[in-house]
Amino acid sequence: MAEEFNAHHHRRARNQGFQVAAAVSLYGVSFGALSVALGFSIGQTMVLSLLMFSGASQFAFIGIVATGGLTAVGAAVASAGLLGVRNGLYALRMSPIIGPGFFKRALAAQLTVDESTAVAVAQSDLTSSRHGFWATAFSLYAGWNISTLIGAIAGDALGDVRTWGLDAVAAAAFLALLWPRLTSREPVVVAIGAAAVTIVLIPVVPAGIPVLAAAAVGIMSGIYRHRVAPHAPERTEGGAS
């Protein structure tokens, strides 16, 4: 009986993972198409999905380089890296769940993103968490890269970004990534502050720098809020990658 019960939980965890991965993978099509339409080669686009494998960081990288050109590559690297900091925190959370084994942990590291962590921590027991993590991780890695390639090939045929409204799609993509994080007043206020700083700085400083200034706003508000209200509800999981 207990074994049957466990097997049911594990299967449910895996199925959750497959569903999340299927939904988010489709989004890779828009990344691939946008990246190529913004001027990146199919090879560069695929390296981003295969190596970086973190949606928000990938979109940030192509967005900043596309608006700022070669001089903004440094800012693009910094922004993509800052967006990757939360993956490091997910990894801390996942570390005891994944368990020992060098190869297994190295593989888990690359696959630790919003979705795989969210499915894993949503499970009620350790083994189900493992099932959920690996099911999400593998299917998302495969799905994200296949759909990136499809999008990149399609994007190659699209031509001008603006004709197809792809510049607006990029903005909507960032908004869709931001939306699930606006769950309490704190991130909403910080997001509005960051937006204001960006509007003020765009005409004054080179492309890519306003985004880094906004990151500084986020860091300083985090430190300030921690001092004023150390026990307010926090949120690190969820949202899309």
Partner: protein
């Protein structure tokens, strides 16, 4: 920095951050402050990227077909529309306004 170097450096940086979480002992880094900062930095960066992508135009703030498109995306997100629907709608609005010559 060339685009290729940037791509690889950024990818390695993110890989290193992910790996660090599996290598560094939990007590050194985990705390309310770190998760607070990481959460708010993510929100701040994404909000900034929305603005830069929706209004930025070679060092100027410009209102064009992107803004109504993002407005439609926000309405759809409020009603919990799926990701792809939101993105497609934004593209259709911007492309449509330009095709009809209503906005640049």
């Amino acid at each position: 920095m060339s685009i290729w170097v940037g791509l690889v450096v950024a990818s390695l940086l993110i890989w290193a951050l992910k790996t660090a979480g599996y290598v560094v002992p939990r007590r050194f880094v985990e705390g309310a402050l770190m998760s607070r900062v990481a959460g708010l930095v993510t929100a701040a960066l994404l909000a900034s990227l929305v603005i830069a992508q929706a209004l930025g135009d070679n060092g100027a703030v410009t209102v064009d077909a992107r803004l109504p498109a993002v407005g439609v995306a926000a309405i759809l997100l409020y009603f919990k529309a799926p990701f792809m629907v939101v993105l497609l709608a934004a593209g259709v609005v911007a492309a449509g306004l330009r095709f009809l010559g209503l906005m640049v």
